[in-house]
């Protein structure tokens, strides 16, 4: 019996491994398709990128979308990169400060604040789009990166608050109280005790928020309209013609725009996944 049992377990293990590998290859195929289409000439992939009768690898599509189209991609990529850094740092700082005060300081109506934050997490961008558009216009931030950073900051504050409040709640209060007895100010406690303890969580916030700022499309679409100021995600729909689409160029552009978040994700996988799990799960 035991021999058969071990054999069966081994067989099911092999079966599982094969199944897992097949699943992950299946999920990768669409991205592989984009890579193939960006590297090979149109005639080779028009009947499917999986045909390998003739394989020519060239980077012509990349140099075309980066420098030669009506909207060279270099500038939008830089625009997106710089504003995503601000779109990650500003909400991470503001949100963590507020989360600390919400948890550790005296404030009336804390339950109300928690409920409000949970509700704000669910407000669709469309619900605030029209008034925000008018307000941003009124304060002169229309068609500026500051406007985009502002909206990426505001819309991310609810989840960052929620996430960081959970993190700070989980930290031991004893050290903070000891420091307070020793006469440390709120600011010293925050910067020298709370922030160092929260570093991994702050890393998650920063990484996730950078990627989400980079990926955001709705706010740039509404706020930025000058062709010279476009964000990377805005260029993609513009490359699609109504009657004719240059698939090679579109794929190359798509690969450039998704390359940054994918690289960031691959480098900081654990932080990214902890953040993705933690901002919705309340333990």
């Amino acid at each position: 019996m035991s021999k058969r049992y071990i054999l069966r377990r081994k067989a099911s293990r092999v079966f599982l491994t094969i199944g897992g590998v097949l699943l992950s290859i299946l999920w990768l195929l669409p991205i592989i398709g984009v890579v193939m289409a960006s590297l090979r000439p149109y005639q080779e992939i028009v009947d499917g990128w999986w045909r390998f009768d003739e394989v020519t690898i060239s980077f012509a599509n990349f140099s075309y979308v980066l420098f030669k189209t009506t909207i060279p991609m270099v500038r939008p990529l830089v625009n997106s990169f710089v504003s995503s850094i601000f779109g990650a740092l500003i909400p991470a700082c503001l949100g963590t400060m507020a989360a600390y005060a919400f948890i550790r300081h005296y404030l009336p109506g804390k339950t109300f604040i928690t409920v409000l934050i949970l509700c704000l997490m669910a407000i669709p961008g469309q619900m605030i789009a029209i008034p925000v558009f008018k307000r941003i216009n009124a304060i002169g931030l229309l068609d500026t990166y500051a406007g985009v950073v502002l909206m990426n900051t505001v819309t991310s504050l609810p989840w960052i608050l929620f996430f960081m409040m959970n993190v700070i709640k989980g930290q031991s209060i004893a050290i903070e109280e000891a420091a307070r007895i020793d006469g440390a100010s709120d600011y010293r406690i925050f910067f020298e005790i709370v922030v160092p303890q929260s570093l991994p969580a702050l890393g998650s916030v920063g990484i996730l928020q950078f990627v989400w700022s980079w990926n955001s499309f709705f706010w740039p679409l509404i706020i930025i309209y000058d062709m010279k100021k476009l964000m990377a995600t805005q260029v993609i729909p513009m490359l699609r013609g109504q009657f004719y689409t240059n698939w090679g160029a579109l794929s190359a552009a798509a690969l450039l725009v998704m390359g940054i978040p994918i690289i960031v994700f691959l480098f900081f996988q654990n932080l990214f996944i902890q953040g993705s799990v933690g901002f919705t799960d309340d333990k």
């Binding site: 499917g48 619900m127 558009f133 993609i236």
Partner: protein, 296 residues
Amino acid sequence: MKQKIQRNTIVFILPTILLLFFFMILPVGESIWSSFHSNGGKGEFVGFANYIALFKDPSFLNIKYFIRGEQPFGALINSLIWALIHLPLSLGLGLLCALVMIKLPKLPALRTSIFLGMVIPGVITGVVTQFLFEKSSGMVSNFFGLIGVTSLHVSWFAHARTALLALIFTSVWVWTGYCMIIFLSALTTIPNSYLEAATLDGASGIQTFWYIKLPFLRSSIRTIVVMSLINELTNFDIIYSSTYGGPGGASNVLGLQMYLESFRYSRFGTGAAIATIMTLLAAVPIYFNVRSTLRK
């Protein structure tokens, strides 16, 4: 002892409170307000006129075509269909992936490749979908050609019947990764002793799943339902960059309709009314989420 709010507390929370108030809380109120006011002119109060006009607008709700089973059904029905198909599919596939991947801890690259879709921008997902459902170069279309289903060996986006489905399936490709990692993190909290005890007692795989694993997954399921419903009802990026609601409105959804009304046709009252309806729909899952959070 009566406590007072410290000056430092204000310094810590003020920037966040101000930003949230002026760019989120107040705008929500303003949107609701403008949904009850006329589109053009002086913006006088019109009561529910914008909402009534919306429900009579076939691009928002087209019951006649829906009964006939012929697209366009209108944005409202399409968004609901999206949720109805997308949620169970991504939940089920995510669970399947999680149950397989939890047994393969030494191959983390497999999880990574399934999660990758969640990392890329929504507008790129709209491009990816072309590589799946285009007649000559799309994998799914060609797969159906290969197994002899010629009616699906077409460009799915060119046909009213299939355009929305193509988008939904591509979105499932993305969200399976999210569901998988939420389930994975819950599965790792199950104590090993539980699973060992079940094996010793001779429990079958299905019994172990039903009686031991599933109870641990309950809160994950709630999380996923809330997060994906919000996404399903407010979807915009992927549709904008692939079909733009076409052909003939067959893949139009609430998010896109709201954008078109407000920022293409400058009908702010109508746009605000659609946004309010979207938010009311999204409020249903959030209500349950808030209730269960408060219980703890």
